[in-house]
Symmetry: C2
Subunit: 401 residues, 2 copies
Amino acid sequence: MNIEEQLDFLSARAVDFFSRDDLKKKLEKAQSEGRGLRIKYGADPSAPDIHLGHVVGLNKLREFQDAGHTVVFIIGDFTGMIGDPSGKSQTRKPLTKEQVTVNAKSYQEQIFKILDKDKTEIRFNSEWCGKMDFSDVIRLSAHVTVAQMLARDDFSKRYAANQPISMVEFLYPLVQAYDSVMVEADLELGGTDQLFNLLLGRELQKVMGQPPQCVMTLPLIEGLDGVQKMSKSLNNYVGIDEAPRDMYGKLMSVPDALMWKYFSYVAQVPSSKVEEWKSAVESGATHPREMKDILGKRVVARFHGAEAAEDASAEFIRIFRNKDLPDEIPEVVLSAEETGLLSLMVQAGLAKSNGEARRLIKQGAVKINDEKVSDDRAQIVPEDGMIIRSGKRGFAKVKIG
Amino acid sequence: MNIEEQLDFLSARAVDFFSRDDLKKKLEKAQSEGRGLRIKYGADPSAPDIHLGHVVGLNKLREFQDAGHTVVFIIGDFTGMIGDPSGKSQTRKPLTKEQVTVNAKSYQEQIFKILDKDKTEIRFNSEWCGKMDFSDVIRLSAHVTVAQMLARDDFSKRYAANQPISMVEFLYPLVQAYDSVMVEADLELGGTDQLFNLLLGRELQKVMGQPPQCVMTLPLIEGLDGVQKMSKSLNNYVGIDEAPRDMYGKLMSVPDALMWKYFSYVAQVPSSKVEEWKSAVESGATHPREMKDILGKRVVARFHGAEAAEDASAEFIRIFRNKDLPDEIPEVVLSAEETGLLSLMVQAGLAKSNGEARRLIKQGAVKINDEKVSDDRAQIVPEDGMIIRSGKRGFAKVKIG
């Protein structure tokens, strides 16, 4: 690839990109010096289950590697070990050194399913942040202004709405920006929610006498619910370590409209092809289920091989499709709390009363996930995707919410 | 003194005081435990020349000591050794460890002219701040919000006016507040410009599980120019280490209207007496010069003894008053740059032209600070208070501005 081709390839599907010109100059310089660029990517050390949301970024990093560049994968253990000292976030509990080590190992096992190990540098930001004392922090802080920090979209909104912003939240982006200085990043990649932090890294490098990094963002893909960003804590994710059957099954539950994003960003199908398929579905020429089967098989094949993908697809069809499940099953939103089977039937709209529910159970008409339930006093814990069936025509699919 | 009397005595002349009730409770508790309170006062380590502006606070501290309490005198060497890393302030150059040590020694020599050494604890905040690492700073920052910091008067104004506020400026008040936690201050005293920082100390102690300190402020007294806050950098100060003659002479140049503030806050004359004297001057019964002589002698006596005070007064009268100097000498505002004597005479309004000025000089009519000048090509550096005289009736007093 010549440099223009490389620029097209590397910037494909990016949401923000600062800037093609900058990157072009960096590529020319690196080429003339016979070296690759340093592509920074920061990872939260608390969640070692890499899911398809991460794959969006990892795919792009791999593209950079395929073009000859080095990925500097930074595990943010320094802030991870502090957590959220204001205690406001449940999801940011401080991690111990041991947990970080375990998580980092797990990270490496997972990311190298996508990244090229030989072109990856794994770094922990405690390496430099852990050596900084108060006076270093003061000197670092001198490079940014309060107005600069408050310009961040979520900060300015919260400040305007009189919602408290802890001073810590001003320090965390600074840590991330300083990471760019320490690893001498040429480009930093992140989700669109990271744009401010990435640009701050660029600014900090500038004031600290380094060539400023290029900045590229990719979209945050929605999870299986089709609404919220894919995340472990929302349990709407597909982990890359999940068994083929689970991975395939979860992908089958992706809302039709979202499938195209997964094709582009997860399965890396070229946009021309995605458009073609989309038209076919919209015209009715192709059933969405067929497309979703292709998506499921492609993703499973990537992480478990083609055979496992075919098996997962076949098993899914055997269990669900051939067992008279209708294409569209009415959803019932329930909380994940244990509840009596009778009440569950009534809530799911499969019985008008506990009495009717009891009769149906006694008749042997009720199945949960294809298993008959005959105890009318059974206690059930609803799960996402659980299928409750009553006779040949009564179906309900549980959605936890 | 019973507690109510002590409260009256200690809060006399305070501008802000949070709060009498709080302090009362602390005094009662301390009394029942047979101990004194810890009164915190923070000092900038860069300016070891203690002047009457500092005396305002030191006097109050001494009053606390006289009531049995301990002064914790904190030398802010930690931030002093960092200076202003944004490089925007010329007056905040970083100090070396050696400079801090020299300055601290000089501080101690000076403050014990007012404070009781046995009831003073000198502390350097590098003792605790120097041990803090980045993660400690993050944990500390978690206790304050951005809105809290931006509530500081000068910050909110600058933010509204789009003037940059460095992040460092958010960290410095936090250092000062943390000092209160570390020394377990019961009360912090400062100038009115310190109110925000003192209250932040109070808040920080609260969230860090300590009883919050009381806060008391005293006014910032104007310097000899009568306009700007007394400060070394503005050269409008009277240092407590100055020679009796200089000290007395400078006090004679205090604007009449300001003299009463000096009587109250520097000479600690009870307010009833100050009011009485003020009325006497306003009614014309007493000449302001007489009052200023009393002020000058009181202040000199305090730092150099009664005899030195009388001598300084007598010498001043001998030099200035008995040498036909009129009571009111017209002021001429000049810059402190070297200038020719002829031009000086013209600028001072003592000659209409260089020619006239030259004639007056040749006639031996011209004196500067009571010394005859006969060289019409002399180069003069104007100084504040310099008296230029031409013959018996021509006078001008230089004011640098």
